[in-house]
Symmetry: C2
Subunit: 168 residues, 2 copies
Amino acid sequence: MQISKGVEWAAHAAAMMIALPEGRGLKAEALARYHDVPTAYMAKQLQALSKAGIIQSSRGAHGGYRLAKLATDISLWDITAAVDGRTPAFRCTEIRQNGPCGLKRKDCKSPCHIAASFAVAEAAFRNSLKAVTLADLGGQVVRDSTPEHLTDVMTWLHEEAQPLSETS
Amino acid sequence: MQISKGVEWAAHAAAMMIALPEGRGLKAEALARYHDVPTAYMAKQLQALSKAGIIQSSRGAHGGYRLAKLATDISLWDITAAVDGRTPAFRCTEIRQNGPCGLKRKDCKSPCHIAASFAVAEAAFRNSLKAVTLADLGGQVVRDSTPEHLTDVMTWLHEEAQPLSETS
C-alpha cells in the first residue's frame, strides 16, 4: 500500500498558498523551485488539485495558482483523493464465488466479510485525514517555526506571488 | 493506494484452514483449486504467511499448510502485513528541508505535520484490521452460509486435508 509522492508535494504546495496575498497566485515553476522538485511533476499535482476544485489557476503571462476555497474547508483527504484518486485500496475480486464450493452470485447479497473489514479500515483512514484541514497544517507550521524562518518564507512568497489576471 | 490481490487470497486461504481436522493440512495446489486461482501465486502468499508465523508447513509427500496459532490470535492486519509488508503507505521525503527557505536538519526534530497526520490515519487503518481476527471472519462465514454450502465445504476439506508428516 503506497501513497504517491505527489500527495506530499501537493499538500506542501497547497499549504504555501494559505499565506498568499489577496488576488495573487504562485506559478508551478516557483512552487517547484521552492520545494526543489521537478517543475513538470509539480505542475501535474497542481493540475490534479485544480481539477478537484481545491485550487484555481489563471492563465497567461500573469498565471498562477491560489486556493479555490477556505483553508478550513480543504482536508488532507481532499488533497490525497485529488492526487491519488478515490478507488478503494482493497479490491474484492469475489473469489468466494470461485471453485468447487463457490457461492452463487444471487447468494452474495452482502459483501464478503474480508472486503467489508477493509472497507471499515479504509473509512477509518479517510476519516482521520478528513479531520485534518489545510488550516490546521498551516497553523502547526507557524507555531513550530522560528520568527526568522517565517520572515524568510513570507519574503519569498511576496516576491514570487503573481497578480492574477483572468481565473480559469 | 492499493492492497495487493495476494492479501485477499491469503485471507481466504487462512480462513479455510480454521476448519482443518487436527494434524492435517492443505496443499497450495488444493487451496488454489478451491479458489480457482493460479497455484504458483497462491503458493507465494502461503509462503509469506508461513514466514510470518501465521501458518506452518510440512514438506514431502504429505506436505501441507495449517494454522500455526489459534484463529483468535491471527488478525486481518497480521495477514495484510505478512503479504504486503509493514512499510508505511506515506513516505515523507522531508521536502520541508529543500529549497531557498528549507529548514535545517537540526530544526526538524519533530516529524512534518503532513507525515504525522498520515501516521495517525495509517494507525487507524491498522488498528481497525487488528480488531478483526481470522476467528471473526470464519464465524461470520458460518453464520451467513446455508447448511448445504457448509456441508459442501466440509466435505471438500475432509477429502483434501492431508495428514501432515514433519512440520517445518
